[in-house]
């Protein structure tokens, strides 16, 4: 057989994934295709930019797996966990474990949902590949935590913690929001807003931080995951272009989704800001610089200028995300510090080199608004654990403790009266999302409310049982048993020695 070109090979291997049903009404098979008001005239026009076929996909993915697992095995065999520069990094990895891994799994479900409900061959094939990618990500991440769990706290009842921890309602509600949207909105939400606009900032700086602190295993997880993202981004970009070009009536609908999901994705990334600015003791890049490069330069000043010709403007509230860049990681770390007594990844006492780095990278905000709080925390870590459970934002579910970037001494909390109840929001961005779809967000569930109404039993200990870990696994890192264990492993390996050169 003559060698096929990429284009003909793709056509040959993806054709007939769609057909015209004769016995069943098309709309019965695809009941959601018109539900969102999206109009598609000629779906055949849409192509996967990389035209990847299944045999190519399998070959490429197998190579990625071989590369990653070779690094993982070497790291495990060589006690890599004891060789990183500071064990507090693992607290950040634990945060990632509950925030991101379930998100990968949800993304796999979401891709299957999109592929099932959008009757366009190329989209079905690209989402099929991506559904497999997301499962792969979830699996290599779990492999990493399984290894860590042999040595460190917090991950031993992973499925339970994953399911029940208050912190995890943040990513869970995010993906539930996308999974309960129509298929085209879900596509824009995840393939475009999440993948194209924000995953860079997740896997590039965080993997670089992992490498900077010496966690080669996690750096490899990040790189292996990210290697699939270029394909996911291509899907999002192509889908966006298709919707905008197929029918002018799609444009305001797409704009509404971009407005919503830009902010929704941005907010879920708040914890990532602390994983870049706080948890690594050797930093690769600051959140502020990463945000400027990946979001401001590449997306707001790059992509959105290209979308202008369609009548698409930058997402609503984008200015707020720029204003917040010098506050974001500090405000989020303060939230994590407030509730560290009930969380399975610990906060930590800031060290002199931390104050120095944060002051240098954030000359306008850190010393003035945040350092006094962290200094005070240092003196009585336990005493400042919050007395109860925080009011969280009715959209993003993060505690309402984000300062107004225009007046940082005040909170940004917004209040809306709806259906006989006062609803609270962390920011104007989340409030605006609620106002568009209040009936959706009033259905939210938040474990603090269930705890307060006594659903888990009368005491805080009952809640830990529900979460799947114990109070000893929470709180502050440098006074924790994890830190002492890490020091012991290092002594055992002789890594505590310093060698003089004469």
């Amino acid at each position: 057989m003559a060698k096929l070109t990429a284009g003909t090979r793709y056509k040959a291997l993806t054709r007939d994934l769609m057909w015209d049903p004769k016995d069943v009404d098309f709309k019965k098979i695809y009941p959601l295709v018109e539900a969102e008001g999206i109009r598609i005239k000629d779906p055949k026009r849409w192509e996967d930019p990389f035209r990847m076929t299944f045999n190519q996909y399998v070959k490429i993915q197998a190579e990625k797996e071989h590369l990653h697992h070779a690094i993982r095995s070497a790291f495990e065999a060589n006690h890599g966990h004891a060789r990183i520069v500071d064990s507090r990094w693992f607290e950040g990895v634990k945060a990632f474990a509950v925030a991101i891994q379930p998100a990968e799994y949800s993304a796999h479900r979401l891709m299957a949902y999109i592929g099932r409900n959008i009757p366009i061959e190329a989209i079905r094939f690209a989402t099929f590949n991506q559904a497999l990618d997301e499962l792969r990500h979830a699996q290599i991440e779990i492999k990493h935590y399984a290894h860590m769990s042999k040595y460190y706290d917090g991950l031993h009842a992973y499925a339970k913690t994953n399911e029940n921890l208050w912190f995890n309602t943040v990513p869970k509600s995010f993906f539930d929001d996308a999974l309960t949207a129509g298929p085209f909105e879900a596509l824009i939400a995840i393939s475009f807003s999440f993948e194209y606009v924000f995953t860079n900032i997740l896997f590039l700086p965080f993997a670089a931080s992992a490498a900077a602190v010496g966690d080669e295993h996690f750096a490899s997880v990040g790189k292996s995951v990210q290697s699939d993202e270029a394909r996911h981004m291509a899907l999002g970009m192509a889908a966006l272009k298709m919707l905008l070009e197929e029918d002018d009536r799609n444009i305001p609908i797409v704009q509404r989704w971009l407005d919503k999901w830009y902010w929704r994705c941005y907010r879920i990334f708040s914890v990532i800001a602390t994983l870049v600015d706080y948890y690594p003791r050797v930093r690769a890049i600051s959140w502020k610089r990463a945000f400027e490069m990946y979001v401001e330069d590449q997306v707001l000043n790059g992509l959105f200028k290209d979308l202008f010709k369609y009548g698409i403007r930058p997402p609503r509230n984008f200015e707020d995300t720029i204003k917040e860049k010098e506050h974001y990681s500090h405000a989020t770390m303060r939230i994590l510090d407030h509730y560290k007594h009930a969380n399975y990844f610990r906060g930590f006492r800031l060290q002199p080199d931390d104050y120095e780095w944060l002051s240098r990278e954030y000359p306008n905000t850190f010393e003035r608004y945040y350092a006094p709080f962290f200094r005070k925390m240092d003196d009585h870590v336990m005493a400042v654990a919050a007395p109860g459970l925080p009011a969280v934002c009715a959209v993003c579910q993060i505690p309402c403790e984000f300062p107004n970037p225009d007046r940082p001494e005040q909170m940004w909390t917004q209040y809306v009266e709806y259906n006989g109840k006062t609803h609270m929001f962390c920011s104007p961005g989340c409030r605006d999302i609620f106002l568009e779809e209040p009936e959706k967000y009033i259905q939210w569930w938040w474990p603090a409310e269930s705890y307060l109404s006594g659903e888990f039993g009368p005491t805080l200990e009952d809640m830990f049982e529900y979460f799947g870990f114990t109070p000893e696994e929470a709180n502050e890192h440098y006074s924790s048993r994890d830190y002492h264990r890490w020091i012991r492993y290092r002594e055992e390996l002789g890594l505590d020695k310093t060698f003089q050169v004469v």
Binding site: R334, H338, F373, K376, V384, A386, P387, G388, L389, P390, A391, P399, C400, E401, M411, T413, Y415, V416, E417, G420, K421, T422, M424, A448, E449, Y451, L452, S453
Partner: protein, 81 residues
């Protein structure tokens, strides 16, 4: 029922915290509960204010939460008098 309470002059806790309450408890009783939870000085005087998007309203400490129109899940601020 529970309410969300924020102690506005305490910079250790910046957002509202969940506090169990009953509609027939007085504003004063709720205030005492919060003073105990936060460990606030008992010799000072405090005001309790219900936060509402249409404008905040002072809670009458002698009357019940129900009589004050405080509902399940309402946010309240405590100020130093």
């Amino acid at each position: 029922m529970f309410v969300w309470v924020r102690v506005t002059f305490d910079d250790r806790f910046l957002c509202h915290q969940g506090v169990r309450a009953q509609p027939d408890m007085t504003g004063k009783q709720l205030l005492d509960t919060v003073i105990g939870m936060w460990g606030l000085p008992g010799d000072r005087r405090y005001r309790l204010v219900r936060v509402h998007p249409a404008g905040s309203r002072e809670v009458d400490l002698e009357r019940t939460l129900g009589e004050n129109g405080v509902r399940d899940g309402d946010p309240l601020d405590i100020h130093a008098a």
